[in-house]
Amino acid sequence: MHRFANPTRFLRLAAAVLPFSAAVAALCLGAGLVWGLFFAPPDYQQGDTVRIMFIHVPAAMMAMGVYAGMAISSGIALIWRHAVADLIAKASAPIGATFCFICLLTGSLWGKPMWGTWWVWDARLTSMLIMLFIYLGYMALWQAFDDQTKAARAAAILALVGAINLPVIKFSVEWWNTLHQPASLITMSGPKIHASLLWPLLLMIVGFGAYYLTVLIYRVRAEIHLRRTRMLRLAQADRHAAMQAAE
């Protein structure tokens, strides 16, 4: 892990991973979308609206997964002062927030024909909304500091506090009983979805994961370059000032 605290080494690894993750994302998303939208059979109860699931479920899983990843890299950054882990956490937040938003949006589009309303204060919807707020707070905290090291540490503390709090929030929100169907993909007795819908869904999940990895690499790379540019500019300004002083 410490090997990759060196940005140059990280950039080399990222450059090697990027073509694969981009290819997997394009293939899985393309195949999953075509399969899910055109070839998978409509649900006997929900008809064609069930196809929203192919976007909605992976987005929800990624929104939670990205937060978990963000919390883990924040922990690593806080404990070992791992520079790249900070950048990964920072770069993850907008991606996770977008997944969260997509999940809420598609859920609302799905809710209208199924439940007859755009929004219900159901447990899962509510906890997703709260998660979006936590993402936004995290991003706002990054923006608030001029000093990037301080911003990184403050944001890491917040991400960890949020990670401890999220299960409590989730549980407390589940306290009100719920309209949303309970988990049907990951259960103790195996998936409860018919294979004809399960396969395109799995493809989409893998595609979303690879897409996240691809965008993450781009964002971290951009952030590293941004910081280098800033350092170079500062050094240049210093040299300039020294030259002027010499004259």
């Binding site: 905290l141 608030a144 929030i169």
Partner: protein
């Protein structure tokens, strides 16, 4: 060590009293927000009774939120935060002492004022006990979680708005358990489960919040 701890609490209480109006302002805000609701939703007693516990909790939450940004700000500005960090007491205990003082000057007065607002909001007579008990357990959690937010945003531009954005989502469990305790009691059910959950969150928060807030304060002291 415990002597310094108690002295810190006394110092903050004294400051709150001499600077004047801290608790009084919170309570006034609390009463004001609650009294907006009958004006907003109409004075029908059955409507008010239905929303009483929720309204009182939300107003209490907002009052606490409003008082948070001064928690460390004044100490940072006049430099006493640097002195507090030099005490032979761990910074997390300093934070805990300040949090206790914060609760004594906001959460506790709000809890004491809640029955009066219950009268105004036609709160069901069976719910008073549950509401007070839940507020006694819940408002310290608000102060503790708030301390993390206040420490993270101390010395930050427009910290107040940011503080609200960070802390509000974390307050949701307290709100849910607090309100449902009062509602369970109003319908004649036992509310001990809600109390246990609040106690569990409080026990966790007492351990975690001072440490997290102390980490955050060290950033401001650098």
């Amino acid at each position: 060590m415990s002597r310094i701890f108690l002295m810190l609490i006394r110092r903050d209480l004294l400051l709150a009293r001499k600077q004047g109006g801290g608790s009084l302002l919170s309570i006034t805000f609390f009463v004001l927000v609650v009294s907006l609701f009958p004006l907003g939703v109409g004075p029908a007693p059955e409507t008010l009774e239905r929303i009483a516990a929720g309204t009182i909790w939300v107003a209490a939450l907002l009052s606490v939120l409003l008082s948070l940004d001064r928690m460390f700000q004044a100490d940072l500005e006049d430099g006493s935060l640097d002195q507090l960090a030099l005490l032979p007491l761990p910074l997390s205990l300093v934070v805990l002492a300040k949090t206790i003082a914060h609760w004594l000057t906001t959460g506790l007065p709000l809890t004491l004022a809640a029955p009066l607002l219950g009268l105004l909001m036609q709160l069901s007579p069976d719910a008073y006990g549950a509401l007070i008990a839940a507020m006694l357990l819940g408002t310290p959690i608000l102060s503790l979680i708030g301390a993390i937010g206040a420490a993270l945003t101390v010395g930050v531009r427009r910290g107040g708005v940011l503080l609200t954005l960070i802390v509000t989502p974390l307050y949701i469990p307290v709100l849910i358990f607090g309100v449902s305790a009062a509602e369970a009691a109003a319908q004649g059910f036992s509310y001990s489960a809600h109390m246990l959950f609040l106690s569990a969150i409080l026990s966790g928060a007492i351990v975690i919040a001072p440490i997290a807030a102390a980490w955050a304060l060290k950033l401001a002291l650098d």
